[in-house]
């Protein structure tokens, strides 16, 4: 009788062990399938995954925000001309709630001296993020708590489970899967591991400098954007990280002005400042007729001009070390070298094809 009980117990122990083993293998396979089926866009997904591959505590300036940031802040210029080790961790239409969780995640491995916060999300009126944007902004985050936090902030409660599990939101992408989707980590659009999150836009679109009435009228931000902007301000204060608001030049700025005023006034409450490059008296060489890829984004030439000015301002405002020549920062050197090799015409701020 005892023998029988013992044998049954053994059978059950084996059964549970096997069940656990099966569950682990299934979970691993499903998580890999989710990775394969997730679109590998340069921004959001790739820049986040690539962030984990950066040496610990190697980023001095972290830029978070929208597409204006990843197309506008040329990390290669900041490195090669100022020795600033910077990284763009942005995604298209990134709201402040994504920026918040992104920064939180980065702070696990990096302790940047300065965080540049794109002011653009202050104009967004949506309470939640679009589906595609949510995937691109959150699926790269590995930390479960921050990933879930970002997802819960992006989508309504009822829809969150699909995003948290991952696969339900991307499984139907099997029609679009390419061979290099199976490679982990992603190759960042051929840029390699040294890439620092700058995404160049080659096009040229002719615009005019917006005629602005520089008043101080404020237009209230969306409540949730304001809530998360405040959270970012508080987090940076608690972590003793300098936060700088940044208004990246764009031809469509006139619409944004009153929202930016509101953001700046909230930042004031925390003693946080910033530079709105749309309202500077000094023109720093930016040409609206040739420096934009479209109605919002700086092109390569524009990003170089703007980044030079940004580099100067960062150097002037903060005590940022020049990391050039430091062996620990060789990846920045490699990234800049690769990029300048790709765009030789821009070495002297010339314009490709002109």
């Amino acid at each position: 009788m005892e023998e029988k009980t013992e044998s049954r117990r053994r059978v059950l122990v084996f059964f549970w062990l096997r069940l656990a083993g099966f569950a682990v293998i299934a979970a691993l396979m499903l998580s890999y399938a989710t990775y394969v089926l997730t679109p590998k866009s340069d921004f959001g997904i790739c820049s986040m995954i690539n962030m984990y591959r950066q040496p610990e505590d190697s980023v001095d300036v972290l830029a978070v925000g929208t597409s204006l940031t990843y197309a506008g802040i040329n990390t290669n210029v900041l490195w090669s001309e100022f020795g600033i080790a910077s990284y763009n961790l942005c995604s298209a239409e990134q709201p402040f709630w994504v920026s918040y969780y992104t920064i939180k995640e980065v702070l696990k491995t990096q302790h940047p001296r300065v965080i540049l916060l794109d002011a653009k999300p202050s104009i967004y009126e949506r309470d939640y993020t679009k589906r595609g944007r949510t995937i691109l902004s959150t699926y790269g985050i590995r930390g479960l708590e921050n990933r879930m936090g970002a997802i819960m902030a992006c989508v309504e409660k009822d829809a969150a489970m699909g995003y948290i599990l991952g696969l339900p939101e991307v499984h139907s992408n099997y029609e679009r899967v390419k061979l290099n989707d199976f490679v982990f980590p992603p190759d960042n659009g051929g840029r390699g591991v040294d890439w620092k999150g700058y995404i160049e836009m080659d096009e040229i679109e002719h615009h005019q400098r917006p005629s602005l009435v520089l008043n101080s009228v404020r237009r209230n931000m969306n409540d949730r954007e304001e809530e998360y902007a405040r959270k970012i301000f508080e987090m940076c204060r608690d972590e003793e990280i300098e936060l700088m608001l940044i208004g990246i030049p764009n031809p469509d700025y006139a619409v944004d002005h009153m929202y930016y005023n509101a953001l700046w006034s909230i930042a004031d409450e925390y003693g946080i400042g910033g530079i709105n490059y749309n309202t500077l008296d000094e023109r720093f060489g930016l040409r609206f007729s040739s420096d934009f890829a479209d109605w919002q984004h700086l092109n390569v030439k524009g990003s170089m001009t703007f980044s030079r000015k940004l580099g100067e301002d960062l150097k002037e405002r903060y005590d940022l070390p020049d990391r050039r020549g430091d062996a620990a920062y060789v990846s920045y050197e490699n990234c800049a070298k690769d990029w300048y090799d790709k765009y030789p015409d821009f070495k002297s701020s010339g314009m490709k094809g002109m």
Binding site: V11, F15, R18, F22, A26, A33, G162, P168, H171, S172
Partner: protein, 522 residues
Amino acid sequence: MNILSFEFLVFIMAVLIVYYVLPLKLRWLALLAGSAVFVSMSGWAGAAHMTVIALCAWLGGLALSALKQREKQLRKGGDEGSGERASACVTRQKLLLAFVLIIDIGAMVFIKYEPAVAAWMNGLTKGKQMIPVWELAVPLGLSYFTFQSAGWLIDIYRGKAQAQRNPLKAWLFVGYFPQLAQGPISTWKELGEQLLTGHRLEPVQFVSGFQLMLWGYFKKMVIADRLAPTTAALLGETGSMPGWMVLGGVVLYMLRLYADFSGGMDVARGISRMLGIELPENFRRPFFSKSVAEYWRRWHITLGAWFRSYLMYPLTTSHAGIALGRRASKVFGKKTGRVIPTALATLLIFVLIGMWHSANWNALVYGAYFGLVMAASILLQPLWKKMNSAFHLQGEKAGVKAFCMARTWVLVLAAQFFAFTSSPRQGLSLLKQSFVNWDFSHFAEQMTAIMSVREWVIAGIAMAVLLLTDILCERGIDLCGRLAKAHIWVRWPVLLLLLMAILIFGMYGVGYDSTAFMYTQF
């Protein structure tokens, strides 16, 4: 709670854990709690309705049992007048049974058919609303739990099942959650004792249940739901569609219905098996049937069995049925006359089965069609026998089997034209359209306009897998049992492959509105 949702999977895991953690004697309480949660999450009105039906079954069952006991005692006693009192007792049993069945089935009939009947009658009076239209929410699995509880009562009356003293146990039998969505309809003998007896965890059985559940999800999510928009497109705007497309659409509709319904059944049976409870089979590869009668013995088996057991047999063995048989024998001769009551009962039952599907003319035509085919096959049996022998259509030869299967397919397929159309006229016109304009010149464009090539390939592979497994099962190979006992090097890859296929190629998630099981609202 949607059976295709993540919440449902979490719910199942919770039920499984609680079930196997509780002591054997109390395990039925886990099923009861699980069923209560499931039913209440499907709507309070439905839960209340089901509870009333369960209460009727419980009280009616106890009363019938008591009357039966009394009748037994009276018959045993042999006192003067005890025979009469026993007969009175039987009459009371009959009246009681009829009363409870009228409440049970009356409520179902009212909810399902009142809106359609009222609308039809109001239509006759040129728009004047003579009868109010009560658009009551149909409780989840209305006819399944109604039939199950009615069957239980009839079995108690027949002395084939026991009543339950504990109302919670009676409620559990009526509202056992895996079978609520779309059956199967079980008898007390098949399910009652199983529910109340605690089951020990048996690894092989548990794995087999898990496999069956996965297989059900595969059929539903990869095949049925993939074909859903395709069949809708094929059968929606058929105006200038070539005949082969219309016919193809109907074939796909039939396959979709099979994958959907039998898939849901496999999920229910799989979950039950994981709990150590074996639910009756509801589908046994119906498309391998060699006659329409066999088809109905393989398709929705428990519904057919319910009608046969609780309606057809009582009808044919009743005094009226026997009398009809005698009279018919005098008029048509012994052979034919004897089967006339059976043929008429079959016709009636199929009309009712048709009407069970929906309260519209199409359902009536659908049922009557099968009823006529079945009645004809019964009445003309001697003629069929002669013809089969003349054309050598007897025996187990492959060619004969294939011919008989094809014939059944054609007969069953014809009925499907009335299953999804909005009126018998539309069904007939579609049937007519399927014979004309067999133009294949734009085959590729027309097919890819409905579904991309890749989707067709996925659907094709999935259906081929389904066909292959059905062929193997038809040959007597117990695939599920074999796989459950197979070495993990064989079992795990198969299960992982199945799991991945469901989660990657299944139709669910955002951008896709997960369709309910087609037979849920019956």
